[in-house]
Amino acid sequence: MDVTEVLLSAQVIDSTIRKHAEETLKQFQEQNFPGFLISLSGELANEEKPVESRKLAGLILKNRLDAKEQHRKFELVQKWLSLDVAVKSQIKACLLQTLSSASSDARSTASQVIAKVAGIELPQKQWPELIGSLLSNVHQVPPHVKQATLETLGYLCEEVVPEVVDQDQVNKILTAVVQGMNANEGNIEVRLAATRALYNALGFAQANFSNDMERDYIMRVVCEATLSPEVKIRQAAFECLVSIGSTYYDKLAPYIQDIFNITSKAVREDEEPVALQAIEFWSSICDEEIDILEEYGGDFTADSDVPCYYFIKQALPALVPMLLETLLKQEEDQDQDEGAWNLAMAGGTCLGLIARTVGDDIVPLVMPFIEENITKSDWRQREAATYAFGSILEGPLPDKLTPIVNVALSFMLTALTNDPSSHVKDTTAWTLGRIFEFLHGSTVETPIITPANCQQIITVLLQSMTDAPNVAEKACGALYFLAQGYEDVGSTSPLTPYFQQIVQSLIDVTRREDAGESRLRTAAYETLNEVVRSSTDETARLVVELVQVIMAELHSTLETQKLSSDEREKQNELQGLLCGCLQVIIQKLGASEPTKYAFMQYADQVMTLFLRVFACRSATVHEEAMLAIGALAYVAGPNFAKYMPDFYKYLEMGLQNFEEYQVCAVTVGVVGDICRALEDKILPYCDGIMTLLLKDLSSNQLHRSVKPPIFSCFGDIALAIGENFEKYLMYAMPMLQSAAELSVHTSGVDDEMIEYTNLLRNGILEAYSGIFQGFKNSPKTQLLIPYAPHILQFLDSMYMEKDMDDVVMKTAIGVLGDLADTLGSNAGALIQQSLSSKDFLNECLSSEDHLIKESAEWARCLAAVFDEMSPHVILVLPARRVVMKSVPVRQIRFHYT
């Protein structure tokens, strides 16, 4: 077989030839995997072969080393590691050789493949000579080899974690890279490759940045590179500065003045890609300072990890005017262009971050700009002024902003109606949305929206919904936040008089021909959802009427037949929005008894529609429809049983959806809803459900975030079917036990892992609670006794680790109570033996968190049973928290005088 020919055929336009070639390659791979890889690497290294076949060979090779999905990646790594050493050496030799190729495409491809191999081998302490041989390449004369080598080092730093490379080698890599960046490096390509490599290597430079001399040197070279005559080098150098700004924030103080000078020159004078990076530097400094200030709440002590240097506050007087200038550099149609990103957008975004960083201080610096420009005849000035205003609404205190907003509001409403520029209207509507988001709501002291202006605001917003799609979308957004501000308004909402009009306008928007543009339809449905969520009993009747409207819309999406794949995608999206809307309505109406019954008359029809939505698709389940069904099950209660025969297959399908793990997670939640709705009527479906849940747990393909809810779901099932859970014990209990063992030790792992561990523990504990409660009062409780020691040990060890969060603590102490409750006297001795049950209980009893305390009080009253078996009395005091005391009866004296 001629590999070259096959590789070339695999790239032709004719699909028959292409498919055949792909098939041939697949067979080759299956018959002789090592031979296949060797041919590919040989092809890539061969200077005589056409560049197209060389590139594809490299690409296929790369794809045999890495994949996006975790489990697939793991398989590929194992497969590579298991190859014969000679085979691997031969491939690696070819790859290194290709770095000297005359073809830049071949070199670049080889760079990436080398980095992938390094990503697999370096953590295994294999290929130790790689970095050495790359570094010796750097000293070679031909610039193209030098360039390819630096690029390889860059990719390598992206692929491997710093821990697997010795500090000595890190020093050498950095030296080589920084030398390549130096101004006296004559070759532009080399200098560019070095600058880009530094970007990735920065993460390795922890030690070097702690050394003043080395850091000074790196900073000097980076700053010099920002002045290079070559625009790409300047851009790459600024990228390095951005990365340094966030990675080494605490080392920045000596350089910040110089960086300000460099960036402000770039923002004002340089080409856009460079200027954008310069703005990004300040945005990322804002990100850092916002994080630091949030973490410590401005309360710094000697042990704060990272101090805040207040760079933004110090640079404020110069930074703000610089950014305000950028606002005037808008592009004509940026609002219609999804991918647009220009100076004005970046500048305004940065201004918004600065407002969040410094708060009130920004207001006096921006107000003169707004006042000067807001009434100018040039739309750019009006838009820039409005955008500046909208940008600073998050951060400063409401006290500072409210008086200004009160003055500005009617001006803005007029602009939204009358301004001739669509661009100005877009920004005005967005700014109104920000006003309502940050300055309106139950937590705000002085209301912005009053009985005097409410009607005008709503009239203007509804009118704007008939404007251009981008303007209408922003108007919907503004209404969203306006409604959200009334979410906890109580029984009377100021929106009530306008409810019907608002709903009608939103429905009209969704039916606009151009509602597909600018995300308009989505925005309209989302706003409708929020209007429903924030509505009160006064408009419940209208929400019930809305059910029919949305059902009709959903029905019409089901009528169209024979769709192209593009149309199918649109249909799918629209169905998602409609199901989402129904979900919100069902949840709203389900929250009180009268509205629940009002909704139930539509339950059959709604369910039929959901089932038809499912039927539209062959392999997957619609997430939004699934969520809506969960809400329906909650409302329908035991009546949901009649839908189960038709619905069950989709439940199965959802539980098997490993790829879209959100769908799987949502389905698991719905199983819980159905358990609570049907109780023991779910029994006939449990074999199937439990089988799938157990499969999900054992799968390494399924995203880990779905596993804790699956455990909780075991609890839901057990609580629903009681002692019938018996037959699943032998499968579920070992799974719970091994997960429990895994989740005990968290020392030395990161925050994210600790959070996950706590989620996992909570799931496991909820399962135990459900199982114990389910078996209570059953003659089969003794089946659980063998598992009790392990569970108590699990509680003990979690207590010892001292890293439970409040939720876990509450669930854990609840499990102790459930165990005592269900096992009765059998549990007494076990609990007595348990090391820390009593300490744990006492700690919970003194908790500040009332939920923990409540669970603990409950567990205590049960545990008391075992302390004293003599006849005793339980005092139930009608208190806010139930207090139960156990007192021997004879000690009671009546002291009523």
């Binding site: 860059g154 990719y155 490759a193 880009r196 990228e239 890609p273 954008l276 990076q277 990004e280 945005s283 990103w341 957008m345 970046a346 975004t349 877009d426 988001e437 139950s442 957004g477 969203y480 936040f481 109580g490 959802n529 929020e530 919100v584 949840q587 939004e624 969960g630 909650y634 949502v666 939640g669 819980g672 609570r676 909780s712 609890g715 839901d716 609580l719 409660q773 109570g817 009332h850 009253c861 049960l862 006849p871 005793h872 009395v873 339980i874 005092l875 139930v876 005091l877 009608p878 208190a879 806010r880 928290r881 139930v882 009866v889 009671i892 004296r893 009546f894 002291h895 009523y896 005088t897």
Partner: protein, 332 residues
């Protein structure tokens, strides 16, 4: 190596409604799961309270009402907005009721306050929406009147928002037509439920006077409010509370544990003491005005053997052996 994408979200609301729908669903499911477990556990309590009774457990008996659920599901800060029968029902369950002092609590002198309780009608006073309402123990209304409390009358300075209101625990003292404030639950929209008595009294004493609520009555302030003197429960404090003179008629002593939060219903963390020196209501008298040797107390023996007081609501405090019932009381 291409440059990295640096676009940030532009003019987009940071929210995703889909994300929100998912979150709200999860919250609802978690809540439903908690409710289901809670229900299972409540059932457990019912059965437990019978377990040690040798009598056959009876499923039907009535559980003592536990106001705790309402109190938790319901934010006290919304209570000020309740109207009509809803308000009546809610407030009927909210007063903190003292237990009789039957022994001396540990650390009485350091951890407790003492004060002389004014005689009169125990009630809640709620000011909101420009008016003030007082409600008796059973939730029914005593007075509706303008007051100088936050948002307690229409003329209050307008900077106070509609959010502002307060809830006080008072005793209305008929002779001088004064509300004596004995505790503070909410002040200017802030809930003090989760605050210790120490803090509540501090706040009460520093805030009440500021509003002018302690001033003499005027057209916009119909009744006077007064704080009462609260003493540390050492010898001097006890003496002052017990025998010191006060501008009102005394009805016993109240003891507050300094660390206790306000909780509705009976609590051992607030105690009441009455004797003839400090209260005229302490003892029953017979038709001639003489105090009999023994005071009477009516207890109710429930079918399942438990004993309850005839308070409203009844307090179940014990249960009797079947043997005891049969032999000593002759009931079978």
């Amino acid at each position: 190596m291409p440059p990295h994408d640096l676009r940030r979200p532009f003019k987009r609301a940071a929210i995703s409604d889909q994300h929100r729908r998912r979150e709200l669903s999860l919250q609802r499911q978690a809540q439903n799961r908690q409710d289901a477990q809670h229900q299972a556990r409540c059932l457990a309590q019912t059965i437990l309270s019978l377990q040690n009774d040798s009598a056959e457990p009876e499923q039907e008996f009535e559980i003592v009402p536990q106001p705790e659920e309402q109190a938790q599901d319901f934010d006290v800060r919304q209570a000020a907005r309740l109207r009509g029968s809803e308000a009546r029902r809610w407030f009927a369950k909210q007063l903190m009721l003292p237990e009789w002092m039957i022994d001396v609590p540990d650390r009485l002198n350091t951890d407790w306050y003492v004060c002389a309780r004014p005689a009169g009608k125990r009630c809640f006073v709620v000011s909101s929406n420009g008016t003030t309402v007082s409600r008796l123990r059973n939730g029914s209304m005593l007075h509706r009147f303008p007051s100088a409390l936050p948002n307690g009358s229409r003329t209050n300075n307008s900077s106070r928002s509609g959010q502002s209101y307060c809830i006080l625990d008072c005793i209305f003292h008929e002779p001088d037509q004064t509300y004596y404030v004995i505790d503070m639950l909410c002040w200017a929209g802030m809930s003090l439920y989760e605050c210790t008595a120490e803090f509540r009294f501090f706040w009460l004493n520093s805030k009440l006077v500021e509003t002018g609520a302690c001033n003499d009555p005027s057209p916009y302030h119909r009744y006077r409010f007064r704080t009462i003197l609260i003493y540390d429960c050492d010898q001097e404090g006890l003496k002052a509370a017990y025998s010191g003179s006060v501008p009102y008629m005394k009805d016993g002593l109240l003891f507050y544990n300094k660390h206790a939060h306000y909780q509705s219903g009976n609590t051992p963390l607030v105690l009441v003491w009455k004797d003839e020196n400090c209260s005229q209501y302490v003892l029953d008298t017979d038709s001639t005005g003489q105090v009999p040797d023994q005071q009477q107390l009516v207890l109710e023996l429930l079918d399942d053997g438990r004993l309850a007081t005839s308070d409203d609501p009844p307090v179940v405090f014990g249960c009797l052996d079947r043997d005891f019932i049969q032999k000593e009381l002759g009931i079978s």
